[in-house]
Symmetry: C2
Subunit: 222 residues, 2 copies
């Protein structure tokens, strides 16, 4: 049970979020990676609905989660934190040079080339659905998401994971693909749907998700 | 003159792009970093307007630029390539642990927390300006861009660069801020405008930009 009250490793998360984003907040990525390597950690939960304190913005200047502190390094950005953890454990990041850089390449690709398209569509559907322009913007956003997914599926090919063994690239990419959970689009890309299911089937993912959901204090309304 | 026909380091770029994106294509980021450390490199130019070859998609699965190959490592994603170059030269990435991770944190923040908001507004203005929904979506996009810039300016504070000395984080962030060059928004954030100017004033940036612009074969129409 890596969740531990006196752990040296602390990450920030939210104590409450709207129902439609439960299970999708980005501290999940770090929880998952920490569960994969059995590292004790604890959560510093902040109120998502309240203004961030000046102290929190010293830690995370954009007021987002997660931020990270293990007593040695204080940082933020889920991709950067994954890389930091990966450098400490070959179960998260291969050490052979080409395999290492392939994993890092896909870590950046997940965050910079795939996530923006999927997050845009997610935002249109879950946060701006009442706006007339959102409906008009949607076909283009779907087309762009499909284009990214088609390229990704082709690049994945027959591999189980993006960089050979399971790595931080998969932690990030699987959580990015979950941004389309409210649609049927991923089913059009069977190899990617199977890839995402493979990630979600890992015991460490299941523990991380359960622990994230348990931390929300307010009723889900579901 | 780091551009060199028989250099071992190759990056991909476009031989032609529409006038409104000239000087903003992402190979600029890698050219700039290579110019900073005086590394010889050459360009593999592809036609932006033609479908990508299967061979190119083996190198860059999304069909974008830049991709990178130095004979030892073959990779893509500008953020990942910057990190790779940073690990080879302390002029691009500090080696002391907290400073190193601060730079890496800001490298990810530039690509994941700032660029999506600025690129969205850039896209609305430069590629979808004829669409009625783009006009309606614009106020929200401007508000989101301003929010990111306000947080970034506060985080930068009185520092010249994001992680102490100049680093790959600044290469990425300065090129990201250039996505608003078609607007007056950055002028509302004087410390960021000065930060961007400081980056653009570096001789390595000027050489990289000039070399990128020289490579475009078609008339600019400007």
């Amino acid at each position: 049970m890596p969740l531990c009250d006196d752990a040296a490793t602390v990450i920030s998360g939210f104590s409450n979020v709207p129902p439609q984003v439960r299970g999708h907040v980005r501290d999940l990525r770090i929880r998952w990676a920490l569960e994969e390597i059995g590292r004790d950690y604890r959560l510093d939960l902040i109120d998502a609905m309240a203004p961030r304190s000046g102290e929190y913005r010293q830690w995370q200047p954009f007021g987002q989660v997660p931020a990270f502190d293990d007593g040695e390094i204080r940082m933020f950005e889920s991709g950067a934190i994954l890389l930091y953890l990966g450098e400490q454990d070959p179960h998260l990041l291969p050490t052979a040079p080409q395999a290492r850089w392939q994993a890092i390449t896909w870590l950046f690709a997940a965050g910079n080339s795939v996530e923006p398209a999927l997050a845009h569509l997610n935002g249109l559907d879950l946060f701006f659905a009442q706006e007339p322009w959102a409906e008009q913007a949607r076909p283009g956003a779907v087309k762009q998401a499909r284009r990214k997914l088609a390229s990704l599926q082709k690049a994945l090919g027959e591999r189980a994971w993006l960089a050979g063994p399971f790595s931080i690239a998969d932690v990030l990419m699987v959580t990015v693909l979950r941004l389309l959970d409210h649609t049927d689009i991923l089913a059009e890309f069977p190899a990617l749907a199977a890839y995402k299911a493979r990630g979600e089937d890992r015991p460490a993912f299941a523990r991380a998700l359960a622990e994230q959901l348990e931390a929300y204090v307010a009723p889900t309304g579901e």
